[in-house]
Symmetry: C2
Subunit: 702 residues, 2 copies
């Protein structure tokens, strides 16, 4: 079953598949990988937190020297105006040390990017050169102890004082301390602080302010307090901490005033009239972090599988009928554990490249429309949760699949998992993000109807729910009576990309239609005048649908991944590669359908018999893919300098070879001891032979 038994012409073209995985920003990715191979940038397991923090600060300096962080900044300030390439390169840094990655993200992707995107030309000229050179390390002070995902409700205030033409930054209570900020505990000399802008007695909502917090010598400035978050579950190379401000005054011009400004006399002005839209435009730059984490997660998954699959093709356990011990990856369960994750990793890698393309269009200005921006937000909010969760699951499965060896830090799986743990709740809590996606799907659904025409919503939903099989051309797939005895044909019909797409799309659309229908009648019977009661009724109805809405958003994200995978397969020219990647895509698509099979069965989309056929076909696909597993991870292009896991170096194969040679030599020399079991078996056989002999003789005697 191993790769060597496959004829060369049936094996994938590792280089071509590798290029597809590297995607649009291959050059930047390879540059970043070359950098990530530098031992000075690597994690040292067990390093103390203080040492790790200092090391990572030094590593940031190495990135500056290497020209690795300037890409996204304006050309005239020494940058490259290369937004997609910047994120692509950033994503690869996870292979060096996630602490280094995230601390550089804090400095250049959050702190610096906030000055760039929320500030104006004078801010750029004044601060960005020092931000880029790391002369000015800074924190991104958005989250508070009491408010994380709900940024609009942060309690820090920035009250304008026209007397002195200053903003007074203040932390009114303990819950308003800025929290979990990288660079806050030690290294930050300034912070971009998000606070409620109050002028002339009016709160104009959250705005960002540039606030100095420490001297270059590291002493806190008057009125600024800091607390160290101390040891964390991972990312201990970053000095996360809290910040509080006791009526700290900054000049009026420290307001990052791209979307809202205050004149010397205290008059507020903004190019965006609606406070809601203004807020969402300002925090829209956060999408960069989500895009970054999405791709970083896919790279961590690649590393995890490269390690576990390599080890799985070398390590042997339990004697097999063949006379040798069986290689782990030849066990059915081991294949079921790892090969579907390989399909998922491919899907997420391709989907990430698509997301990055949209990101680049928007941030480069090539296609910066409101619509594309909104699509980008939704795409990022759909993909980042799925890939960050998948990274944790994949690292864990790889850890378990490599047993105790996977638990040893030098094999990297536990360290990566510990560091990536927080990726699922920072830069947008995954469930909150999926809820955003769900709301967008509901909005798009409702947009088909006149505002307030609830009856139309109901009619459409009812039609979709009863007539659904027709609508998506699924009769053939879902039909159950014609199923009997036609398993082969029925699987055939599900194997087509059209059927997979129809089933995946149908699930999203039907769930959204059902939710819309459930929400429609929320305020039935509540008097129109009683706005509070109606609001509560709507909230309760929404709350009852929340789990389902999040599930629908996840289904939407899965569909996007499947589509990206399909698109990527279509571009592959090498026939063997195309064949193998088609199997892998089918495994991904049918794997999703198998995962949600209860839903398809309940909805009558798939019959029970066809459902069993799906599982049987998945098993066949996994068997077919097994011999290609090593090639498929080789295509990730992660050499030993990037994997840096002892068990992925071939050491296990050497040990297996040594052990087999030892036994063979002993046997050849006649010094290999016979086992008591064999002696007993021989004795038993001899006894039986003797008895049979006796029995044969007895009748003669009779």
């Amino acid at each position: 079953m191993s790769e060597s038994r496959i004829p060369a012409q049936d094996r994938i073209d590792v280089a071509q598949v590798g290029d597809a995985l590297l995607g649009k920003w291959k050059k930047e990715r390879l540059e970043a990988r070359a950098l990530a191979a530098d031992p000075r940038l690597h994690t040292i397991p067990g390093q103390s937190m203080p040492e790790h923090r200092e090391r990572v600060l030094e590593q940031l300096g190495i990135l500056v020297e290497a020209g690795a962080i300037q890409r996204a900044y304006p050309k005239d300030l020494g940058g490259g105006d290369n937004h997609g390439g910047n994120i692509a390169a950033f994503q690869e840094l996870v292979l060096a040390d996630p602490s280094l990655q995230i601390k550089s993200g804090v400095q250049w992707g959050l702190f610096g990017a906030a000055i760039l995107h929320l500030g104006t030309r004078p801010h750029h000229e004044k601060w960005l050169p020092d931000v880029m050179s790391l002369k000015l390390p800074g924190a991104f002070a958005m989250t508070e102890v009491g408010h994380g995902s709900d940024v609009a409700s942060v309690a820090t205030t920035a009250t304008y004082d026209p007397e002195t033409e200053e903003f007074v930054i203040n932390t009114p209570f303990a819950g308003a301390w800025k929290e979990f900020l990288g660079n806050a505990a030690l290294h930050g000399q300034a912070a971009v602080v998000f606070a409620q802008l109050i002028t002339r007695g009016v709160n104009h909502g959250v705005h960002a302010f540039f606030v100095p917090i420490r001297t270059p010598q590291g002493d806190l400035l008057p009125g600024v307090e800091s607390m160290d978050d101390g040891v964390k579950g991972g990312l201990n190379g970053i000095d996360n901490g809290r910040l509080a401000f006791d009526h700290v005054r900054v000049p009026r011009t420290n307001l990052l005033n791209r979307y809202g400004d205050v004149a010397a006399d205290g008059t507020y002005s903004s190019t965006i009239e609606s406070p809601g839209r203004r807020f969402f435009t300002m925090i829209g730059t956060l999408v960069q972090g989500r895009v970054s984490l999405d791709g970083a997660s896919a790279r961590a998954m690649q590393a995890a599988l490269a390690i576990a699959i390599r080890y799985g093709t070398e390590r042997r356990q339990f004697p097999g009928a063949s006379g040798r011990e069986t290689v782990l990856l030849d066990y059915g369960k081991h294949q079921r554990r790892l090969i579907p994750l390989l399909a998922e990793t491919y899907a997420m890698t391709f989907a990430g490249d698509r997301l990055l393309t949209v990101f680049d269009e928007v941030f480069s200005g090539a296609n910066d429309t409101d619509e594309n921006r909104e699509d980008l937000e939704t795409l990022a909010a759909a993909l980042k949760p799925l890939s960050t969760w998948a990274a944790l699951d994949t690292l864990q499965e790889a850890r378990e699949a490599t047993g105790g060896a996977g638990f040893i830090a030098k094999n990297r799986l536990t360290g990566l998992r510990a560091d990536l743990d927080i990726y699922v709740t920072f830069e947008g809590d995954n469930n909150v993000l999926l809820q955003l996606v769900g709301k967008r799907l509901l909005k798009d659904y409702a947009a088909q109807f006149k505002p307030g025409d609830r009856a139309a919503v109901a009619r459409a939903a009812a039609a979709q729910l009863s007539d659904r099989a027709d609508r998506f051309g699924l009769r053939q797939v879902g039909q159950s009576i014609a199923d009997l005895g036609q398993i082969a044909r029925s699987v055939e019909s599900m194997r087509t990309p059209e059927a997979q797409r129809a089933l995946l799309e149908d699930r999203v659309q039907t769930m959204i239609a059902e939710i819309a229908l459930a929400l429609r009648d929320a305020t039935k019977g509540v008097p129109k005048e009683d706005k509070r009661a109606r609001a509560i009724a709507n909230e309760d109805a929404f709350n009852a649908q929340q789990t389902k809405l999040i599930e629908a958003a996840r289904a939407h994200g899965e569909l996007l991944e499947w589509e990206a995978f399909t698109e990527a397969v279509e571009k592959i020219s090498d026939p063997a590669s195309k064949q193998v990647l088609t199997w892998l895509r089918d495994l991904f698509g049918l794997g999703l359908i198998e995962k949600h099979m209860a839903w398809y069965l309940i909805q009558g989309r798939i019959s029970g018999q066809r459902a069993e056929a799906v599982t049987a076909y998945i098993d066949r696909l996994i068997g077919r893919l097994r011999p290609h597993a090593l090639d498929l991870v080789d295509a990730f292009g992660l050499g030993p300098e990037l994997l840096r896991a002892e068990i992925a170096t071939g050491i296990e194969q050497e040990r297996q070879d040594e052990a087999e040679a030892y036994v063979a030599a002993q046997k050849a020399a006649g010094t290999w001891p016979v086992h008591e079991k064999e002696l007993r078996a021989q004795a038993k056989a001899a006894e039986q032979a003797a008895r049979a002999d006796e029995e044969r003789r007895e009748p003669q005697n009779a």
Copy 2:
């Protein structure tokens, strides 16, 4: 929706439920908890590995002084002959520091227990007093680099030399190094080494030998080599490492000879004739570790949920229609994340107590029959995988549900998760254990038929598979035609414990019957003489069923948990407690059915409509349980000295109160700024009113 709104008489009796959770060995558990509250035994987050290792060694001394580790040893050697109580107390130590727990497990549960259970009286007298006092720290040298789960194949040899009456312990190649051994890198002065016993040219299989490895000063003895495993993903207070032996000689009497012995002249003897049975008897003592980890995992789950649920009832996020921000645990999704885990934690706690009872019967000798011993092995192999995995999932969900705060080490969730990670693959890899359970289920199934009567197996399986609804009285539950419009009644029928049990049992039995049927024809067409071909055919067939067999074993474990929960609920006398725990048990049972709904649908056990009703009823159960959530975690009895998580101390409630008081005071003083949004809304309303007014006037003017 909070607890305070429930009438007192409807709330659970926390003390009574708490006693049920503490179970049979309440006294020992409370003693261990008192000990675990001692700050000297607590983890210090971020402590360096060398310091943590020394600290844990000192902590072991504290356990000795406290009389905490002697319970399982013979009374005449200063022990308590209390096997169940010993494990119960051990399980609670996870609340102090898992490193401390596992290192004490290495010393007294593995190294010491091997001398106790595999050795004989002279061994006990010679070594156990020093083992118990920690004067003699030791390693349990079973696993090798190349052989973990497959203990029978370890490659270390112990060859008897009659000339000197010694065993020669030898590590023939790199893969045979003993690996992952606690106490091997630093502190161990001896090891119980598992090696192939060879005498007179015959290998009698794996036996255990007492082998000194270091001087009391810590110097390795001649011929012994050690390597340090270094930093691990967790449990860094334990000095795991490798050991190798280069023809190290030990006296003949160092063979732990309870089940097999070698006379001075080299003659081998054993009370157990079959080498296979002898081997399984010897490694049977390993069950102790599995029982220990099972209960430790349940305690970690209790701690995780006590932290996350307490925080979830205090932390608020996003303004609600009520005018206040909404408490996390009032969100539908948050409830769906945590409350089913609460049900699972109860189930696993009760199942653990049942397992411990069987363990105590066997190890105390009260009921040490072959049958009970085999049941114990199966029970432990079924429950340990489920609870160790559930602990990781629960710690992770609690971490995510508490957001960034959950990632800070002082809130304990990440540290516990990192430490418990290895519980899923050590003391028996979870998948390997489940496979053992699956094989036992297949054996029991086959035992109904005459040996070799494959036709009977086929007939029975076919009957079960077609007639299955009848057989388990499931017609009523599974019927789909009669379902229409009877959702209420259909849920009613699934709510009974009888229906839940029938559905859970049916799944195990049907899966096993299907697997047996699939295995039956494996060698069809392969000539009887070709034993190798038949072995390979059987192996291939088994391999194709491996995933399903493991799934069947998991279903068996879930059934055992459900039964234990049901048994525990029956013993509760307080009516309100009984009601709430019945809901919780139903949530657990129906949650399992929902999780495996695709299977029930495919098998025709449950109709699509009834499946939807199950989910709807689960949602209702969760809503009912929400107000009891705090009481249900209070019943775990884990005070602040055991939880030691800042976010579970009420600090968030204090912050919320402070913030609300601040806002109220500002509003009262008239200094609370009006929000631009309100001004715009007011302006819009005024404008509309003015326009309406104008329109009203116009007709008059006309």
